[in-house]
Symmetry: C2
Subunit: 252 residues, 2 copies
Amino acid sequence: MTAVIPFGELKRACGNCSLRELCLPYGIGESDLRRLEQLVQRHAPVARGKQLFLQGDPLRSIFAIRTGSVKSVTVGEDGAEQITGFHFPGELVGFDAIAADVHDCSVVALEDTSVCEIPFDRLDELSGCVPGLRRQLMRLLSREIQQDQQMLLLLGKKGSEARMAAFLLSLSSRFVGRGLSASRFHLSMSRGEIANYLGLAMETISRLLARFQQDGLITVDGREVALLDLPRLHVVADMGSDGGGFTRRREG
Amino acid sequence: MTAVIPFGELKRACGNCSLRELCLPYGIGESDLRRLEQLVQRHAPVARGKQLFLQGDPLRSIFAIRTGSVKSVTVGEDGAEQITGFHFPGELVGFDAIAADVHDCSVVALEDTSVCEIPFDRLDELSGCVPGLRRQLMRLLSREIQQDQQMLLLLGKKGSEARMAAFLLSLSSRFVGRGLSASRFHLSMSRGEIANYLGLAMETISRLLARFQQDGLITVDGREVALLDLPRLHVVADMGSDGGGFTRRREG
DNA sequence: CGCAAATTTGAGAGCATTCAACTCCTGTGG
DNA sequence: CCACAGGAGTTGAATGCTCTCAAATTTGCG
């Protein structure tokens, strides 16, 4: 991996960071904040396609995304790869490793990405002293559980259209939280990666985007997307898997 | 909900509990164990079909399953229900609520079930003092993330046969950890609930179980199941979604 | 400018669903 | 004791959504 730059070179980085509301330091005091900052290490940016860590690596650190974006990928015993999430500035990755002290997914940069590295044992120690930090850590872990379960609902009960709409809306709402446009953004992942994430074929993604555009829901130009009709997108996202506006029955 | 029985009436329950290796007290000392025990409340058993808590309820407590089994269910905005997990003795439920202080799934008993209730704020406090407890809590949260992500892989990349096989093997391995038979057990959930959980139709579950039996993989009699060929079940569970032993391509 | 990768588009095939009928099991009431 | 209602589960047939295969087209980049 790339060389670690001592964090002292940055003046009170967490305190000044525009992402602190989303990240670990949320809700902790000035002095505790400084103690957290001493833990944090900064890396030279990670190049597109390079990994933060690999599935099977021992847990050393948690990473916070500063700029750019990453995907986390799990490969099953049979070699099938599943993208379990995309992560954007302010989000943390590596939580899956706490259970067994080993990462069970790889995290790969989708574009040039800068991250903060936080040694986990030090973070664990500090969280013992700082209740606010401990709660925020738990909140972030819990939020990941929530998100995964929303995803289970999506994959288990929704058809391709609803999945695509939900995906676009999820990106939108996450970008809004970072002060970006809710209706116009750049996709840092390929069609194939979206397909993998949503449990669909790449060709299906292509067709869905085309159909959404025809229907006036969105505009697509390569990886540039504009959401034209948020309300209707929400309707589509809430649809059952039959795509006709009625919920497909799957249980007795 | 049912009346709470003061836990003092039970002699050192966590310490004597056969599930302590799986549960919260794992890896903490004698004196800390006693402090944990003082937190724990015991309920009268929860009847089949009754709920521990409902989606939308504020977070009050985490629950540990002592005997019986439960399902957790999330309902989407459109009313579609997704079972996000089944839980057995020694497992904890309620972690999803930490993020927003509100449960985003309901937990319902599949059979008469006894549980331990642990007030979350007290647990949070105590975990600040007891590093071992804090780590175990984090491990349990992290394990849930891992499991959900395994499930994402299953729903995203695997066909019906692989899902069914993986489901049976998952039950098997969890029962083994509790000293039960790995190859012979009772299903506490209906076909419809399995179907919902696996993102399939009830009829498909029925057909799969029949086919597995024909193929000599298992024996089914109502809700009694025996796994006859663990190795081959593992092969089936690792198969891609085409069911032919080759991985279906879903990404470029 | 030209190759390689990513994306789009078209056509046919397959797995799982939906619809529907039937069996089995259980509990209830006459 | 038996008829009956209701739920759970099974089985069969047909439809369809999404996949796979294939080829054209565009984009990215050296």
